[in-house]
């Protein structure tokens, strides 16, 4: 099964996982990480340990936005582990798409499908055109 790590500022990662459980039901292999109170190195080490503990199983890392210390740690991780896919701008529809599709969509197509779902989820909501 493809695992995921969500790394964000504040409690966003933890709350995304919690909220996804309320919508999707229970799931495993999804880890929430915050940068709160952590040095760049501590954050990187925490993520690296999570990835290492997967022992080579595929993993997608979600991060809140590019340019922050969370994304910085992701990019450092990517330098060591080119197989890890990193996706920024995580939102709830993206996480739900990941959970829905991780068992059925081939790994090489999974990131695109998640991005597509995320892009389509962001729109003006107008009752006339929905």
């Amino acid at each position: 099964m493809v695992a995921c790590i969500i790394v964000t500022h504040g409690r966003l990662a933890e709350e995304l996982v919690d909220t996804a459980r309320r919508v999707f039901g229970d799931f495993s292999d999804c880890f929430a990480v915050t940068n709160e109170g952590k040095s760049p190195n501590a954050l990187y080490e925490e993520m690296k340990q999570l990835v290492d503990a997967l022992e080579g199983r595929p993993c997608i890392v979600f991060v809140d936005f590019t340019g922050g210390s969370c994304c910085h740690a992701c990019m450092r991780l990517r330098v060591d582990r080119e197989d890890v896919v990193i996706i920024s701008g995580v939102n709830l529809p993206m996480l739900l798409a990941f959970l829905n599709k991780r068992d059925s969509v081939p790994l090489d197509q999974l990131p695109e499908e998640i991005l597509d779902r995320g892009h389509k989820a962001i729109r003006l909501v107008d009752p006339d055109t929905l």
């Binding site: 500022h9 109170g37 952590k38 040095s39 760049p40 501590a42 936005f65 590019t66 340019g67 922050g68 210390s69 994304c71 910085h72 990019m75 450092r76 330098v79």
Partner: protein
Amino acid sequence: MTSLSLVRIDDRLIHGQVVLGWARVLKPDRIVVANDRVAKSDWERRLYTASVPPQLKASFLTLEETAAQIRSGAFKDESIVLLFESVADAHGVTEAGVHFDEINVGGLHYHEGARELLPFVYVSEDDRRLLKDLAGKGVKLIAQDIPGNPAINLVPLVVTGAASPSAGI
């Protein structure tokens, strides 16, 4: 003369609090990262450059270059945010003949042997010694993570080495 709108010690260097918090309020022309390791590493420079908003220029300088350029007024007429990763780096640049009116210790997270002064400021004995030295040279030391939060005078905390009573906030 170079206008240093913010001199900050932050182990994350360029990150959200700096580009979204400080740069939005101070509207600097340039971010200068003073760090020997980053200045000499292609990929680390690329990594930090990716965090810089398009309207901002960025320079990655060694500590020696930083001191030399500030002394020679290289960033004349620009408003600068100057970032150091550690107390030792900031102190080193002052030793090289640069005076800072104020240094904001905006983020020093737990590191080996460090004690908490504030939730976002942990200092080792070496850090304390160097901060006291800076204070003795007339550098105002404050701790302020983002512009909307109060600027805490760091000097009494550095002198006593005790955590602030308000450290829990």
